[in-house]
Every structure is written in C-alpha cells, then in structure tokens.
Symmetry: none
Subunit: 181 residues, 4 copies
Amino acid sequence: MRVFAQEGYSGSTVSQIAREAGVADGTIYLYFKNKEDILASFVRQHSQEFFDRVEDSLAREKNAIDKLHALVRLHFAASRLDRHKALVYQVEMRQSSRLMKAEIRDALKRYLDLVGAILEEGQQEGLIRQDLYVGLVKRMIFASVDEVITAWVISGGKYDLAALADPLVDLFLDGVRAQAK
Amino acid sequence: MRVFAQEGYSGSTVSQIAREAGVADGTIYLYFKNKEDILASFVRQHSQEFFDRVEDSLAREKNAIDKLHALVRLHFAASRLDRHKALVYQVEMRQSSRLMKAEIRDALKRYLDLVGAILEEGQQEGLIRQDLYVGLVKRMIFASVDEVITAWVISGGKYDLAALADPLVDLFLDGVRAQAK
Amino acid sequence: MRVFAQEGYSGSTVSQIAREAGVADGTIYLYFKNKEDILASFVRQHSQEFFDRVEDSLAREKNAIDKLHALVRLHFAASRLDRHKALVYQVEMRQSSRLMKAEIRDALKRYLDLVGAILEEGQQEGLIRQDLYVGLVKRMIFASVDEVITAWVISGGKYDLAALADPLVDLFLDGVRAQAK
Amino acid sequence: MRVFAQEGYSGSTVSQIAREAGVADGTIYLYFKNKEDILASFVRQHSQEFFDRVEDSLAREKNAIDKLHALVRLHFAASRLDRHKALVYQVEMRQSSRLMKAEIRDALKRYLDLVGAILEEGQQEGLIRQDLYVGLVKRMIFASVDEVITAWVISGGKYDLAALADPLVDLFLDGVRAQAK
DNA sequence: CATGAATGAGTATTCATTCAT
DNA sequence: CATGAATGAATACTCATTCAT
C-alpha cells in the first residue's frame, strides 16, 4: 500500500512492491494471483475490518441519529489514522474500478446498506422523515462523506478532519434552508 | 469519446480512436498533442459549454433556491443527453486524474464556486441558513449530484434521472430529520 | 544545409528544411527525389564547383610540390569560407555514407585521383620519390587533410586553419624523422 | 556487432540483435541501458582491451621509431582479426558520433595522446625532428592509419593489410620528397 | 518456500512521402 | 507550380508473469 499510495496503482511496479516487502519478485506470486489481486486483497481485508469495527460500535448507540454520527466519525477517524490506506481507497481504487468491480461494489453496497438500515431504524423511531427516497439519501450520505475525505487526503491532511463529522451529519439532518420563524 | 466510454482511457488505443474517427493514426496527432490531450480537449470544451449554459440559465431564476433546483436539473439533463460523455466524465476522468489534474480541478473548482455563489446569495436573501460551513455544503452538493449521476450511468440509464433532481435538492434544503410537531 | 549542419542529417526534418526554405513541404518533392537526394544534390553540385575551382588553380602552378600546397590551401580555404558546408561534409556525410555511397565515393575517388595525378607528375619531374605505394600516399594525404578540417570544425573554428596548410604539406614531403647530419 | 556491422547502427533493430543473440527482446535490457548502450559498451570494452595490449607491447620496444611501427602493426592486426569489430569501429561509430561523443572522443584522445607520447620520446632520443606541430602530426598519423583500415574494410578485406604497416610508417618518417643527391 | 533471470506481448508517436486541390 | 493535410509503416522499451533452480 505504501507503494500504491506513492506511485498510484498503474504507476506501481510489482518489482517495487517486492522490494518494499523485502522479497523477490516471484515471491509475490506465491501470495497473490496477480498485481490486481494485491489491491483487491487489501480492499477485502480492510473493508472487512472496517465494517466489523463499525457494526460493533453502532450496536452501542441508542438511536439512528447517534448511529449516523458515529458512522461518520468512525469513517473519518479511520481515514485519519492511516493516510496511506485512505489515499489508496479514495484515489487509486477508482483508477482500477473497471477491473475491480467486484470488491469495490461489494464494499460500496455494504456501506449503502448500512446507511439504509440506519435510516429505516430512524424512521421506525420517528426520528427520520418517512417521505424519503431512501436510495437517494444513502447515496447522498456516502458521496458526501467520501468527497470530504478525498478533499482532505488531496489537501495533504492539513486540516482537522474529525471536526467536520458533526457539522456534516447536521447538514444531512437539517438541510441548509433557513428556518421559518 | 465512444472509444473511451467503451474501453476506458488506458484501455483505449490511439489506433482504435483513429479507426473510429475514420482517419489514419498519424492524423490524430495533427489535432491533439498526445493521447491524454484527446481527453483533456474534450473536458475543456464540454465543461466550457456546460458552464456557459448553466450560468445563462441561472441568470433567469429569481432566487437561490430556484437556482439550486435549476443547476441540478441542468446537470442531470446534460448527463441524460449524452451518456457517452457522462460515462467518460464520471468514470474515466477519475482514472487519469493524476495526469489531468489541471483540467479536472479547474472544472471541479468552477462547480464548487458556482454552488458557493448560490449559497451566499441565498444567505443574503434570508433563504439559506447563516450557520453553515459553506465549504462543506458545496462539497456535499457536488458529490451527491455526481454520485447520483454515476449510479445512473453505471446502471445503464435504466431509470428516470430527471425525476430525482427535485427530491435531491429538497434533501439538501430540509435534511432527513423528522419535523418536530 | 543550414538545417543539416545544425540538426544533423537524420535529426533534420523535411518540414524543417521546407520552413527554412520558405516553401511548403510538398514543394521540396518537386525539386528533390527524396530527403537523401537533398544531401546528394548538394554534394554533387558543390564537389563539382570545388573540383572545377581546384583544377583551374592547379593548372597555374608550375610543379607537383606547388600543386600539393595549392590543393591543401584551397581545401582549407573552402572549409573556412562556409563552415555550414564543411560541417555537413565532414560530419553529416559520414552518417549517411551507407545510403549515399555513389555521390560520396565519386567525390572521394576524384580527390584521390587528383592527388595521384599530382604525385605522378612529381615523380616525372624528379621531385617525388619513385619508391612509393601511390595508393597509400593518396589516402594518407586525403585522410590527414580531412581529419585536420574535421578537428577544426568540431573545435568551432577557433584557430587559424589556413596557417596549417604549409606545415601539413611539409610533413607529407619530408616526414618526421630527424635529419642525419 | 554482427548485426551492427551488417545493417548499420540505425538500420539495426533491437529485435534483430536479440534474435541474433538468441534471447528475447526484453533480455537485452537486462544487460544494456538502451540501444545506444549496446554500442557504447562495446566501444568501452574493446578500446580498453586494445589500449592495454598496445601499451603492453610498446613497452618492449626500445625507441620511438620502433614503437611507431609496433603501434601501426598492432592496429592493423587487430582490425584484421575481427572484421566485424573493425567495420563497426570504422563505419558505424561515426554514424552515432553525435550521441556517443563521450566514448568515441575518449578513445580518439587516448590514441592521439599515445602517438604524441611516442613522438616526444623520439624527439628526446634525437630520432624525431624538433620543429613539428605535434598536434598536427598526431592527427596525420591517426587519420592515415584509420583511413587505410577503412579502405581495407570497405574493400571487403581483399588485400593484405599487414603488408602496408611498414610502408605507411616509412611515409610518416621520411615523406614523399625525392632525396636531393 | 523462495528466487530472480528471462520472457515477449503490447503501443504511443514520428515523419518521409503523396496527391487532391 | 505550389500547397499542406493526410497517411501509415516502423520501433524502442516496459513490466507482469513464469519457472528452472
């Protein structure tokens, strides 16, 4: 991932990766099917970890709104923790999207499903509006979080990402319209 | 663009593009500096056209909220009009983002600036909340619109994109929280 | 020749040559068979001129030794007069030697024949030794003159080429051995 | 070298060279930086060997005149031994002179220095005239030897090159002027 | 298990030459 | 006579992958 993060997926060489890993070129192929599989394995493993951690945390929140806050906070926190990983996720993964459909789509779908579940729970709790295209909301939330992280990664991590979590969720909740008095 | 849309940027061959255009390989280089410039030229030209059309239309709307609706409607409409173009924009452009920083960033910045201007106008009109991280809102709006289009493009254009414009803008405006009675 | 001198034969483009000549690319082909013919024509024309001038001058010298001096002086003078031409002759012509066999060999042969004739005349006059491999001497003289010009051209024409003519001919005549007392 | 000798440097294809060497195209690049480096490596290695052998031999000669004879004999002998090599040296190396300045100039300079040293030794021994432009003499000797070899190579090696060594050196020593009685 | 030398398919780009106008 | 847009053949170099050791 260090190599991918620095050189980009297609800019990276299997030799570079092998050198960084301290093994011979051929050894890579004992553990990965091919170059793409190196990235795919990473995505599989780390999205697994991410979702496990997230679901674990969400279980401890008492309602949908708290869960939404928690999800975004965790997502931001994970990105902040390992900028290498985040860079690969946000920028490089899109570059091979055509190739990696399966892994990426799975992760995306799982994210959307998670948000969808939170929203439905919120509707049952009476905290979330009933008149929503849930499919649309899910995408709005995912895309916004994703975009904010991408902007932060591209900026070089200069500002405090964590501080944006609550304002972003508030936007999702209350929108931008001025309140009628 | 037909070739790029079908094969992806790096999957496309200059020879293929020439064949599709009905000219010889060398002819391409009379009109474009290199392969990348084919895509860059496209982006330059079409984002110019897009923004011209958008700014023209927005001038006819009387307030910020109407302008926001108009922007999203136009964006969706443009994507629906030429799925080739949209596909290249949504999927392929990200693939060469590292190379094409300039063109893409310019277009993105222009979009964000446009949304920012609408928001500020709305704040002056008293239609948009004052307590907003405008930078955050701009990104939320761009990313959501972009993501909805991407999903539609990837789906193969099966459903009616235009119908999603107003619900999406309503989400931006009012959020998802159930109204306190 | 300005283009060839600056860029080298294979580094030169027919377009560059056309531009320098102030005509369109295609026009070149009304006057030359192909790129190589541009160089070949130059060689033909200028070696013709050179030999005409040389033979003319030599006719006015009264013996072989004076003729040898005159030949070398004229050769050096011609090079000094037009460094473009000389550069092309000394450096570039060798680069396409394989292609231009005919023209170059003709010019070389004519030069060697000229020197040969001078030598034989000198032998008849009793001024030149009889026991010589004339073929060897011809080549020594040509190669030495040629090399001295090449060195001068490559040096950028910094020193006075003309001043070397007589010392060089003296070397041919008397060699380097110290005279027995 | 076989390929270069037959096709010329720029006429040769890396694929041809690989085929001749019985390896795959890519393998070439494990041993050479690029096409030019194939030729450059050859020059480096063989001029090293040549000069080592020459300096070794010259040390065994007792005076400058014997050394001059030995140098020319060795040079001719080396050319005769491997006509491929000689052809590349004499003809092809000049073709890429612009590119290979460094290697070629080094070898040429070393040759000229060697001749210069012999001449100076001869002057101290009283065997060589004092009134010489040594720079001129060096070039005369190098150019003549080089030209004689080139003529022999181009002729297809038909005549006996070795037999020309002593007559050529005698020319350098005594010149062509008939002796005054 | 690990190595790393060898492989060879794959491709953007240049530029001499042509020919319809 | 002149143009210059169009042509398309031709080629060095990279790098993912293999496999004998």
